[in-house]
Symmetry: C2
Subunit: 401 residues, 2 copies
Amino acid sequence: MVIATYRVIDNPQALAKRAEGIAVGLTIGSWTELVQTRHQQVALHCGQVEGIEVIDEVSGGRVIAEISIGYPQANFDGTFASLLTTVFGKLSMDGEIRLIRLQIPNQLAAQFPGPKFGVSGCRARYNVETRPLVMSIFKACVGLTLPELVEQFEAQARGGIDLVKDDEIFFTEAYATPEARVVAYRAAAQRVAEKTGRETAYAVNLTGPVHQLQQRAQKLAELGAGALLVNMVAYGYDVVAALAADPEINVPILAHPAVSGALYGGDTYGIEADIVLGQLARMAGADMVIFPSMYGSVVLGEAATARLIGHLRSESVHRPALPAPSAGIYPGLVPQLYRDFGNDLIVNAGGGIHGHPGGPAAGGQAFVEAIRAVQGGWSLADAAKESDVLRQALEKWGTPS
Amino acid sequence: MVIATYRVIDNPQALAKRAEGIAVGLTIGSWTELVQTRHQQVALHCGQVEGIEVIDEVSGGRVIAEISIGYPQANFDGTFASLLTTVFGKLSMDGEIRLIRLQIPNQLAAQFPGPKFGVSGCRARYNVETRPLVMSIFKACVGLTLPELVEQFEAQARGGIDLVKDDEIFFTEAYATPEARVVAYRAAAQRVAEKTGRETAYAVNLTGPVHQLQQRAQKLAELGAGALLVNMVAYGYDVVAALAADPEINVPILAHPAVSGALYGGDTYGIEADIVLGQLARMAGADMVIFPSMYGSVVLGEAATARLIGHLRSESVHRPALPAPSAGIYPGLVPQLYRDFGNDLIVNAGGGIHGHPGGPAAGGQAFVEAIRAVQGGWSLADAAKESDVLRQALEKWGTPS
């Protein structure tokens, strides 16, 4: 059984009947009456009520309750379309109801691709054995010429960044197609590598019509893309899964959470953030997942973040994925990041790199130094004595209080 | 410019800065500072604040406001991924913010396929010149054998139904694949047509991995499918667009709203229902769109419904689509349906057909009689004198008070 748990607001007397209506109506029945489970074959597909728990009272005699429904595995076909339509299809339109938990048996989970690379595959790919990876974003993409973009890429590469990602809103091909960018940035990375010994990878925004995406992804991989940045919710999980399942697309997938707030933002409707950005992302094959950090202005909350990380890392038929918390990341925060997330992490900075007084190369270098310090067991203050760029970063952004 | 309007809750003093941050930051800039619009090329891509309107005060000194932002057309690439990521990507995660309106210039709208058939194409396809179409749903699908399903289909066909649709949660292929069903129901429809003169069409649930969908859709069309039922939000608008844009898929698309409530259900987050189920559905190429009616237990509300219908029918670069309001539809409601929606409508009934005392054939026939009455200018009461099945339906469900 796939067990879905919903938070509802309803009259307490209505809960049992509502749960039964969901279990039967969203599997084998219609909305007017229970279908007679007149033979075993149909019964195999019938949903069942797994539990009803009243959580709290609200106004007007209503309560907040959690209803759990089991859906037989046989009702699904291994796609996210089947999963979401079944557990939160019509039901999503049924008033104050929110999908808050999904328990998926391994046998069904195994029908989804999961990460092709995962944590260890990304570490091997980006040649980063133990420490957190460092990722940056272009300060600007849209409207810039290829030489201007290459200049930004090189600056970040000189700072020792492991992975530079596109702005996820970079769709225009007027000045620099994704293909041209992959080729140009790879050349730039190789130039920088001659001096630094490290080749910075590029996460290119995968764009265009869905029926061309797999071919485009293959091409970009062949040209040397370091990763594919995919607007996961905008395109849909099944689109991501098609990329992850394709052996010809031999490059990690970096999932961007654009549009996901439209699903998880509320609390009486929609789908919990940890499901949207953790559980489903990993099943769909995201190797690295960007999500709102606890350090920005709008946060998911500690519990939701813990559940999200848990989904990315739990024992599973799928490889674990790398979390990339985003927003409000600066070098002085790095020890906190280790405490909150451990080693298997992408330190993902935008302003925290570009805003460095010495420019983006210095900004990237400051993060690299901060990570080196934590890896080596030194305090940032001590490390800053040996590193101007780190010192400047600590002067500008400080450390968390 | 694509102009997106958002409903936000914020401090009134913060609104102008927030609007500016959206306009610049979600086009050409980063989150830390404004990018210098140092040359014309970048400026072409910069967003602009189109308006800020305070609507109401709420607690804590905050206000509800509507912020409108213009995004240059050049930032989009003709996909829904680019549209949604740009206008509601990161922004969707920015706290209490809801996308409530989207104004899309014809030049950009024309890059989206729109309905291949539209109202007139569906009328021609289903041979229904002027009256509303009648659609029914299988009472049950999951777990039934092909002969049992054919029996249900034939009963509905005998009732004179124009279009019979699958349950949108019908994914299992254990007993009857979509291909086998299309062939079997077509044969059944032809058998019934020999007696009734009308061939009932079948809207088959299009299922499976995205990279196989186009091919499967073509095959189902060749085998004689009357329409493709597509879980539009579960699969994603770009997936629907790929089907609509494909000339080899010569069959109308019937969009199901499953999962859409997760996007539109709230009021401080998400995306308005008329955008999700009206505007974007038509742009994506849905020829017929199922949405919650005003007659069910959970409604969109009059204003939202009017906007949704407006989106399906407005003067546009795209053909208009047929609305299929769903929930709480029974024969006695038909005159009300005409008043609320006019002729270009799909009368979409489930329980209102299967719950008829005489069975589904009688149930379908009762709708056909009710529509015939309204077309001919007779009252239902008068028509019921000549029609047992209509009389029984009126006795069971009545008419709206």
